[in-house]
Structure formats: structure tokens, C-alpha cells
Amino acid sequence: MSRKTSTWQDRKQERVLLTWAGMAVLTAYLMPMAARWAHVPVFQWQDWLPLAGYVLSLFVAHAWFVTTRFAGDRILFPTVLFLAGLGMVVQVRMGTLAFDDPSAWAHFALPAGFVVALVVTGALKKGRVNRLEGLTMASLAVSVLLLGAVLVLGSRFRGAVYLAGGINPTEFIKPFMAIFLAGFITLFGKDFANTVAGVPAPSFRAVLTFAVLWGMPMALLVLQRDLGLILLLNITLLLLLVMATGRWGYLLLGIGGCLLLGVAVFLFFPHGKARFDVWLEPFADPTGKGWQILQGLSAMFSGGWWGTGLGTGSPTVIPIAASDFIYAAMGEELGIVGCGILMILYLVVFYRGFAIADHQPAGFGRHLAAALTMLLAVQTLMNIGGVTKAIPVTGITLPFISHGGSSLVSSFLMIGMLLALSDPATGRAKGSSRKSRRRKR
């Protein structure tokens, strides 16, 4: 009993944050509702279903953590739920969570992601997450199988490949690739840390092994022309190498790799080159290739500082506004202030992610936490940067906000793993475990 009470007290910050997040999302939800009411002054009970589900999930999350005596991070999950709640509101506003058809897939994406995160946390907490190290090669195999299945069975839509039911399996390789990268670097980290005269000089065996293993998913992604994911995975790989080995030379290597990739893009990916051209000269073809990015910027300009308010702008004129360009829609209706708040929320998530990584003992868990956080952070940066024209558009989604069930569930899966990592290995008996970890190091 005393333990339970202390968990209750221990998770007070989570409770407080969930309360504020819930209130903020509720207020946000009222905006598109009011806007709709201005046109059609009738409310149906279904209109409030997403909000009710969301509020329920906040209670469930907290209850789950308290009853399972979860001792991990208390800020990460409320913040992720806050972001997901904003995503839910914006999707309601964009009409992608259609009220007329409650059986639509989209309605189950957020609950599914939420459940996945809780289940994964429960399954992998108390240090059990470290057992994933044994699945390093299996994870790679799963990734390659997923990509292969997509290649064989998938159908192409808007440059991405989907399986039946609108599932985009390539989204799911992210957590598996994170496990693979973490496991691989745990194995070969020392090798990669070798330097000759300041230049990273990993052993030939390590490089060859890595090239073969990494080459398989990369080749499949190239075949699918999924440039965004290739970039995301490779940037994460480089950052992870730098973090694991402390050798900044890998960043130089990365710049060289980027140049090579750039050349490859120009030679082999006509749509990659097109995206690059649009980025440089959006006004060269304003009604064609530049249309989407310019419509997005136009939407943001109309938003100004404070935005028009959810439901009162016209973000639907932006092509694919609900998924890749959702950030522009938020820029229009919540203004640059809303965008800034959104960015800080993301940064809180990444800060917690890096803190979790930092609190891990050297080894697999540390690399896994870092890899998961980097994947999410780089993905967010690539999406927001692309929409604001700071970098070329890479066709990657905004975690927790963009429309798309696969992306949402996959991101929640990664958050679940991070949460599991944040849980101390042996519950409250921390002292002994820390000693044992130190001995390992």
C-alpha cells in the first residue's frame, strides 16, 4: 500500500501536466466546433467523440502508469499526448476525422498508437528493454522483410508505397531500424571509435559488415525512391556514430555522404531533383511544382502572429494539407505563436529523450534511446523545415500531428520504448543496480 501511495505521489507532475494538456486540447477543440456551429448550428453526439476519447485516454494513461508502478519519465508521455491531442484537433478541423463514418481507419489510429505505447512500456519496463539487444539482427530482418513486402505487394500513391488498408509499412521500419542501429553500435562501437591521426578509422571488418547490413534496407528504399526515409535514417546513423564514439569526424564523413547523395539524387531521382529545384526557385513555376510550397507559405502569411483561429482559416486550399503540410495549416490558424509553442513542445519531447539516453548506462539502452530520439527529432525538423521552405521538401510526416495511422502508431511505438528505457532497471532498488552498472562499464 505504501508503495502504491508513493507511486501516486511520484507521478504528481505527470498528473498536473496531463490536466493542463487536457484543458488546452479541450479549449482548442472548441475552436473548430464553434466555427462549424457558425455554419451549421447543430451538434451531434459524434462530434464530441474524438474529444471524449482523448480525455479518456489521459485518465487511462495515468491510471496505467500508477497501477503498474511505473517509475519512469513523467514529462515525456504527457507532452506526447499533448502533441497528439493537438494533432487530433487539427485533423478534426481538416475533416480527415470524418464524423459521418465512425468506422473509418483514421479514428482508430490515435487509440491504437496510445495502446501500443502503453503496452510496449508495460512489456519492456524494468530494464527488460535491454533484452531487445538480442533482436538486433532480427530487427534488421523485419525491416528488410517489410520493405520487400511493400515492394512486392504495395501500390504507389503520392510518391509513397502503401499496402492494403492504407497502411504504410515503411513507417514501421523506424523503430526496428533504431533497435538494429543501437545493437550494431553496441557491438562495433569500439571499432568505429578507432582513429588514425584524428581521422576515424574503423576496422575493415566492421565497415564491411556494416556496409552489407545497412546496404540491404537502403537498397530497398532506393528502389522505392523513398528519399525522405533514406535521409532520415542516414542522418540518425551519423549522429549516433558521433554520440557513441565521440568522434566528430563522422560528421565530416556525413557531409561528404550528403554531397554524394546529392549527386546521386540528381542522377537517378528525377523527382528528387525537381524538389531541389522547387526549393531554390519556387517562383519559377508557381502554378506547377511550386504550387504546394507556395500555397503553404501563403497560408502561413495569412496566419500572421496569432493565426485566424482553428476552423476560421482556409488551410484546405493547400494540397495534402492534412498530412505532410499540416504544419502550414497550423501556421495559418494558430499563427507563428502557435508554431513556436508546437516547436517547444517537440523540444521538450526531445529533451526528455536525450535525458533518458543520458541516464542509461553505456551500452545498448543508451544507444537505443538516442537513436529513437534522433529519429523523431530529425523527422520533425525535416518536415517543418520542408514546409517552411528552409530545406527542400522530403515528403516526410510530422510526428503525432500528420494524418496517417502508420506514422502515428510507429511514433507511439518509439515513445513506448523510450518510456520503457526511462524506467529504472530494478524498480526502486536503484542503488544496487547502479553499482552493478558501473561495474559493467
Binding site: L17, T27, A28, G304, G309, A355, G385, K389, K430
Partner: protein
């Protein structure tokens, strides 16, 4: 917020209230999340520097993206291409670029020549109608942009950060878009004189250029026939090539200069200390065997009246210029030789181009004219060029510039349309001594010669008429002049297509315009400095 209290029925007010509360709750959330982090407390270990740095890098990157986003979201009005895109292609019920007012184009005294209309279909109004059509050009949803509207598009629709003041304005506009305005473009032109020039020319075809030879400021630039930029019709763009109302004849009209080239030939000769006296018989001069002789116009006049003209006899340069003797200048041209003649004309700017306006989005340039390279054996063509015929063509702008250069001792300034462009000296077009001698001769040509119609008492006009033969129809009528002769403040070139003798059409137009300039105070101020 207050609107919500005033109008509780208005959903927009409720949405505004929700938004404010939402932002407030977000801030509270962030405060609660950031204030008390678990860092260090749980494990007692200090955080590793590498992860702190990595997180800092991400913070910087996100911050940079947000700042870059702000250059579109908050300061997008300063991106002219972007504003143009939104005006044209944004389908929002209220166009986000609605507040961005395009700057005005005004004359030197602030008379508006082009103003914003706040209508995406017809964004501009041109209060002067056809008078300034060729100067301002037009801005139209269907027909695009031309003239200054095109060349200075960025400056007019966005911001030209020339002064600290516009930065301040920029900062204000980030917070209040109601005041967003492009910069005003102030021209050197004088709307009053331009109107008079247009009135004089509107029934004819031709061009008038008046500039200040002391600094190159263009005061009048009229081209007729003109068009109304307020009312563009498809027919305008199909008009027959003879009328060509869209053509700015002042800058782009290439005309044979006729006798107005004679001062230039004289200047070339004077520059070589050549001041011959020639016998100029009625029979004229035949350059190259088998060609028609070049005769003076009196010969044809007498023949028409059934009389026989005895010829000028011996003429010196002063008399020849005064009487505009073709025979004299044909001989002079032959004596100078084709190579020297065309070479020196080139140093006077022919075959070159002037940039009359350097805008934020482009330039407005004018051809000076062209002269083919001749060698000394090509006597027939040399003689033709020396009397302003044949392959030699010039633009009215360049003739005004040359007239001014003669008056100012050979010194010339780049012609310019915008006040903001500083005067820019050109290389001297002719030796000062030759220009001074020539000034006296041109004063005589007005005082006692063919240009007497422009001899307005007190103004001491110096000039030269010209009659350019054309393949069909009446001759083109030219007049170039500057005044006052000793210290000119005005230089002009007028061409009336098919206007007959220079003295018949171009001179009266010039005289009228000079009187108007006198009334406007241009000559009064000459002795006191700038007007």
C-alpha cells in the same frame, strides 16, 4: 477579446477567446513541464556534454527554422514575388496580400501617376491616363506588367531598404499589416509640362523629350499615339504597326535624324580644327558615280514654283548650319571621310545604349541609335550619313542628350527617370571648344535661320531643325534645341512623324513647350541655381 464581450452571439469572438485561453494554457503547460525536470535529481549524475550539445544543436536548428518561417509568415510582404503570387493565386475569401499596398509612382512634385486601387483584377489606377502611359507602363491582371511597373516591381510592391526609416516601417508592418505600403517611386518628370507636350502631340505621331542637361533628369518624355493604361483592350495589342501605340517612340523610335545631324558633323569637323568654306552650287554634289546628286531643299522649292534657284554660292560653316545646306555638309562629310565620320559618331554614343532607369526588378534602356561602319571609299553612303539620311538612325532621347551636350560644352549626363538615382556623368561627347563654337552657330540657326519659330524673346534658344526623308508619306519633322544658349537648363528633341519641314511641325511644338517651361519657372531659376 473585447469583441467577445460586445458580441456574445458572434462565433468568431468565441473562437478568438478560445484561442487566447488555449495559448495561455499552453504557456502554463510548458512552464510546468520545463520548470521541474528530472535531470540529475534521480540519478545524481551530471549529464554528458555530448547530449547537451546535441540538444542545443537541435534547439538552434528549430529556432533557425522558426526565424526563417517568420520571414514568410510575418515579413512575407517584403518578398515581392511572394506578394504577387498571393495576389494572383491565393483563393482565400480575403486575400492575405490585401493589405499590401503598392507604392505610388509620382512626378517630381508628387503628382500621382500610378496609384493602388485595392482590386486584384485591376490593381492600378493611372490618374493621368494616356499622358504617362509609356513612362509608367501598366500593371494588369490579364496583360502583366510593363514600363516602370515592371522595372521597379520589387521596390513598388515590397521594400527597398535604402533608408533607416524604411527599416522602422518594416518593423511596424510586422505587427500591423494595415500600414503595409510599397515604396513610392518619384520620377524626375514634370507632370505639368508632360501634359502640355501630350496635348500638343496627341493628334500627331511622334515623340518629345525634354531633359535637364545639367544632370540628365528627364523632364518630359511623350510618345504618341498613346493608350490608356486604365482601360487596356485586346485591340490595343493588335493595333496596326504604323500606329503602334504601345511603342515608346521617345526611347525606341529609330528615325533618320535628317538635318539635326549637321551640328554633330560640324562638331566633328571643329574638333579637327576644320572649318572650311565650300562653294555650294544649285547642281549639288554627287558622291560616287551614278548616284543622284545631293541638293539643297531650296532647289526643289524653286523648281516647284517653276523658278530656277541660283544656289547658295560660297558658304562658311555658320551660314551652312543656319541655312541647313545639304551640299555643304555632304562635302564636309566627304572631306572628313567615312571612317572618321562614323567613328566620331560612335564616340557620341551611337551604336550604344543608355540605361535611363535602374530598377529593383529590371532596367529600362534606350538605344542611342545606329550608324553602320563606313570606310573612306564609301563616298555615297558617307555623304548620306553626313546629311542625316541613309543607314543612320537615332532615338529622340539620344538627340535630346546630344543637344544638351552641345549646350554644356560637350559634357553629358546619363539620362535618368528616377529622382533617387544620382546624376551620373558620361564621357565628354565632344571637345569643349567645338561645342562652344557650335552653340553660337545653333543660336544663329534659331535667331536668323530655319528655327526662327522657336526664337522666344528672352530665352535665347539655340537649336537645329531637321527634315528626314521617309520612303513613303511626308518627311519627318525634327527639332533639337537647348536654352538659354550660354547656360542651358533645358534640352529638347521633338519629332513629328510625317510632319513635313522641321520648321513646320516640330518647331511650333517646341516653342509652345518652351513657353510652358518658362511659365513653370525653369528659366527664372536658371540664374539662381536649381528650380
Amino acid at each position: 477579446m473585447t469583441s467577445f464581450l460586445e458580441q456574445p452571439d458572434n462565433p468568431a469572438a468565441w473562437i478568438g477567446l478560445c484561442k487566447a485561453v488555449f495559448f495561455l494554457l499552453c504557456v502554463v503547460y510548458l512552464w510546468k513541464a520545463v520548470r521541474k525536470t528530472e535531470t540529475g535529481r534521480r540519478t545524481g549524475r551530471t549529464r554528458s556534454r555530448a547530449y547537451r550539445m546535441l540538444f542545443a544543436v537541435f534547439c538552434v536548428l528549430f529556432g533557425a527554422v522558426l526565424v526563417y518561417q517568420a520571414t514568410w509568415q510575418l515579413a512575407g510582404f517584403a518578398r515581392p514575388d511572394f506578394v504577387a503570387f498571393m495576389e494572383r493565386y491565393d483563393k482565400r475569401p480575403v486575400n492575405p496580400a490585401r493589405d499590401v499596398q503598392r507604392g505610388r509612382i509620382t512626378d517630381r512634385r508628387g503628382v500621382p501617376l500610378a496609384v493602388d486601387r485595392n482590386d486584384p483584377l485591376r490593381p492600378r489606377a493611372y490618374p493621368e491616363g494616356p499622358v504617362f502611359a509609356h513612362v509608367t507602363g501598366y500593371l494588369d491582371e490579364r496583360y502583366g506588367r510593363t514600363g516602370l511597373e515592371e522595372a521597379d516591381h520589387a521596390y513598388l510592391s515590397g521594400y527597398g531598404f535604402e533608408s533607416g526609416d524604411s527599416w522602422k516601417q518594416f518593423g511596424r508592418n510586422m505587427f500591423d499589416r494595415k500600414e503595409i505600403r510599397g515604396s513610392d517611386l518619384v520620377l524626375t518628370l514634370d507632370a505639368g509640362l508632360q501634359r502640355i507636350a501630350y496635348e500638343l502631340m496627341k493628334e500627331r505621331t511622334g515623340a518629345v523629350v525634354m531633359l535637364d542637361p545639367r544632370n540628365g533628369a528627364v523632364l518630359v518624355m511623350v510618345s504618341t499615339p498613346s493608350f490608356d493604361p486604365n482601360n487596356l483592350q485586346p485591340a490595343l495589342f493588335r493595333a496596326d504597326p504604323d500606329r503602334a501605340p504601345l511603342l515608346n517612340r521617345a526611347l525606341q523610335g529609330l528615325y533618320p535624324p535628317g538635318s539635326t545631324v549637321k551640328p554633330l558633323v560640324a562638331a566633328i569637323a571643329l574638333g579637327r580644327n576644320l572649318r572650311p568654306v565650300y562653294d555650294c552650287p544649285a547642281a549639288g554634289i554627287t558622291a560616287g558615280t551614278g548616284n543622284q546628286p545631293i541638293r539643297d531643299h531650296e532647289y526643289y522649292q524653286y523648281r516647284k514654283d517653276g523658278k530656277v534657284w541660283p544656289g547658295h554660292g560660297r558658304l562658311d560653316m555658320r551660314e551652312a548650319l543656319q541655312k541647313s545646306s545639304n551640299v555643304y555638309f555632304a562635302r564636309l562629310g566627304l572631306d572628313l571621310g567615312g571612317a572618321a565620320l562614323t567613328g566620331r559618331l560612335e564616340t557620341m554614343g551611337l551604336n550604344g545604349r543608355w540605361t535611363v532607369f535602374r530598377g529593383s526588378s529590371g532596367e529600362i534602356r534606350t538605344s542611342a541609335g545606329s550608324v553602320p561602319p563606313l570606310n573612306d571609299d564609301d563616298k555615297a553612303r558617307t555623304a548620306q550619313v553626313a546629311i542625316g539620311q541613309g543607314a543612320l538612325v537615332v532615338t529622340p532621347m539620344h538627340m535630346a542628350l546630344l543637344a544638351g551636350a552641345i549646350g554644356r560644352g560637350g559634357a553629358a549626363w546619363r539620362p535618368r527617370l528616377a529622382e533617387r538615382e544620382p546624376p551620373e556623368p558620361l564621357n565628354p561627347l565632344m571637345p569643349a571648344e567645338a561645342a562652344r563654337t557650335l552653340t553660337g552657330m545653333m543660336r544663329d540657326a534659331v535667331h536668323r535661320g530655319t528655327g526662327i519659330g522657336a526664337d522666344i524673346p528672352g530665352l535665347r534658344v539655340a537649336g537645329k531643325t531637321g527634315t528626314a526623308q521617309t520612303p513613303r508619306g511626308d518627311d519627318h519633322s525634327w527639332f533639337i534645341c537647348f536654352a538659354p544658349a550660354e547656360d542651358p537648363v533645358i534640352a529638347m528633341a521633338v519629332i513629328v512623324e510625317h510632319g513635313g519641314y522641321g520648321s513646320r511641325s516640330a518647331v511650333p511644338v517646341t516653342a509652345e513647350l518652351l513657353r510652358a517651361a518658362e511659365k513653370a519657372g525653369y528659366f527664372r531659376a536658371a540664374s539662381e541655381g536649381q528650380p
